[in-house]
Amino acid sequence: MQQELMKVIRKKYKCLLILLVILFMSYFSVPLIITLSTVDMLRNLTFSGIPFIWIYTFLQIPLTWILGWIYFNYTKKLDEKVEELLRKGES
């Protein structure tokens, strides 16, 4: 029982790790980009009139929502697995 639960938890950790890496990469790439690029680069790199860095930063908002949504759905599946384990443990 304990071992099987640990298996589920390790799965969760794996998912968390991936999500966290994506999150940190996208989030900390913003200051990185700002630091590495020159003012001219930032000014000239535009996307239909709007500076690229704006769009990139703005995209963090939907990205946050998407990552949250992925986690929500993934953990729902894990919850079902735990439920199943519990039911087996009882019977």
Binding site: L20, L67, F72
Partner: protein, 514 residues
């Protein structure tokens, strides 16, 4: 004093008091008082979390920052939003599974000891107070500006209201004040941004063109580098922002108010949704302010830009709308301070009084009484501080709160949940070193040590405005070294697997517990 403003404020006060009256009839057990007896749904709790989190600093401060500094102001808000994912991924579920009323419960689930409980309660108390004081100060300044009431009177009004909510209504009143605040705030800013948009014929390009003319920064407005000169400063701030929320006790204890893990996740998802939408709107409002009002007018009214939103409201809707937006700002502050007061109250009455002083043996009735009295005491303490510290730099205190949270509570919580070899000594050293280093660096930093009118008139010993990049690692290091050097406590290591199962799934696989 303008009658319209006054009536709107009265209306808000009456409404929140009605909520409190209604809640007071229900707050008759400790479970109701501390956690609303887990009665909230995920969505409701999400709204309450947003209400707890979006402070006057966010509503007024960020709109102002965007209006004045463009991109850098916006980047600030992104940090606040993304921090919710950290909470969701790493902290929320274990906290819900392990704790009952307070963060002390969570840590004591692994290290049952009064020392641990005491140090966490102390941390909670300090952070809540650090955050409460600037909110109260900001509220006092805002009301003085809008209603032309004396600063001390307005601070006392807000402090008094906060105390009344928490003393009589406990978590139920606090939650519903926050929910109402979120609804009003969101719909108010939404309508305000629609008004701004309609001024520009619903064309975003017209708005941006107008922004270019309004700001003195010109094209620079849309580029980074206005607020944060060095990349290290920027990175440091972002680190404190993203990890800070996960160490804010008043946010974390909100997870106890729902009934299962799915609802915990749902509350965070909806909070992230609401906060995200809110920051998109602040972006629009910031643009609108600079476009419609212009840099010079804005800066002449208030150098920090905090009056951006009220000024914008007056511009597009006259006194009537200004009164409404001010009332919203007022609600915002009241809801946040109430949330902070309840977290400080829980730390004191549940952790210190019930567990440490009474050794867990006080009756339900006494606990409730103790909770109400400590809420009363905390209300008075916070109000007194705010009265004394009228001239304090509000943004500095807010950033200090995030710094302390991310350098002390977050490392300790994180390691408790995820590190096998962590032990009781680690908790103590982690909390102490995190708290100490953040306060020390802030004291030695340019906010306080400043040749240009700082409290300590000399060159700063520590160069960064945002010391997160040093303080957070020190907090972690303190906790890790503490537990490695003091290895006597091996029991919690061998029980770690069971603890992990309990933290992640809530299932108790036997073995001893506290």
């Amino acid at each position: 004093m303008n009658l319209t403003y006054f009536l709107f404020f009265i209306c808000i006060i009456v409404c929140t008091l009605i909520i409190t009256y209604w809640a007071a009839k229900r707050s008759n057990t400790t479970s109701h008082f501390y956690t609303a007896a887990g009665s909230l749904t995920g969505i409701q709790n999400g709204m309450a979390i947003s209400g707890d989190f979006i402070s006057a600093a966010s509503f007024l401060g960020i709109i102002g920052a965007i209006a004045l500094h463009g991109y850098d102001g916006f980047l600030y808000s992104i940090g606040f939003l993304v921090s919710y994912l950290i909470v969701l991924f790493l902290i929320a579920e274990p906290v819900y599974h392990l704790g009952k009323y307070s963060l002390g419960d969570v840590l004591c689930a692994r290290f049952p000891s009064n020392k641990v409980r005491g140090v966490i309660a102390f941390g909670t108390f300090i952070i809540s107070l650090l955050y409460m004081v600037p909110q109260l100060v900001a509220a006092g300044l805002l009301i003085r500006l809008l209603l032309d009431i004396d600063y001390s009177v307005s601070v006392m009004v807000i402090g008094g209201l906060m105390t009344v909510y928490v003393v009589f209504g406990g978590m139920i009143a606090t939650s519903w004040v926050q929910i109402v605040k979120t609804i009003v705030l969101l719909s108010g800013t939404f309508l305000l941004s629609l008004m701004v948009f309609s001024r520009y014929g619903w064309k975003i390009s017209a708005l941006i063109e107008s922004v270019r003319q309004g700001t003195i920064l010109g094209d620079q407005f849309f580029l980074p580098g206005q607020l944060y000169e060095s990349p290290l400063e920027l990175f440091s701030l972002q680190l404190a922002l993203i990890l800070g929320t996960a160490g804010l006790p008043h946010i974390l204890i909100r997870f106890f108010t729902v009934k299962n893990t799915v609802e915990v996740r749902r509350s965070l998802i909806s909070a992230a949704g609401i906060i995200g939408i809110f920051y998109i709107m602040t972006l629009l409002l910031g643009f609108g302010t600079i476009a419609l009002i212009g840099y010079d007018v804005l800066i002449s009214a208030d150098a920090t830009g905090n009056l951006a939103a009220p000024m914008l409201a007056r511009e597009v809707g006259g006194d009537f709308l200004l009164a409404f937006i001010s009332a919203i700002a007022f609600t915002t502050i009241v809801a946040v301070v109430a949330g902070l007061a309840i977290s400080a109250t829980t730390a004191f009455s549940h952790d210190v009084y019930h567990h440490i002083i009474k050794k867990g043996n006080s009756s339900e009735k006494h606990q409730l009484l103790a909770a109400r009295w400590s809420a009363f005491g905390i209300g008075i303490i916070a109000t007194l501080f705010a009265l004394k510290l009228e001239n304090i730099n509000v943004t500095f205190l807010v950033s200090l709160t995030f710094l302390v949270a991310s350098a002390s509570i977050f490392p300790v919580l994180f390691l408790t949940i995820y590190w096998k070899k962590f032990n009781q000594m680690g908790v103590l050293t982690g909390m102490v070193s995190g708290l100490g280093i953040s306060l020390l660096l802030a004291l030695l930093g340019p906010h306080i040590m400043n040749t240009d009118g700082g409290w300590i008139n000399s060159a700063p010993l520590f160069p960064l405005y945002n010391p997160g990049v040093i303080a957070i690692p020190v907090g972690f290091l303190g906790a890790i070294l503490g537990s490695l050097l003091y290895k006597k406590d091996q029991k919690s290591v061998s029980l770690y697997e069971q603890f992990q199962i309990r933290a992640q799934t809530g299932i108790d696989t036997g073995g001893e517990k506290s």
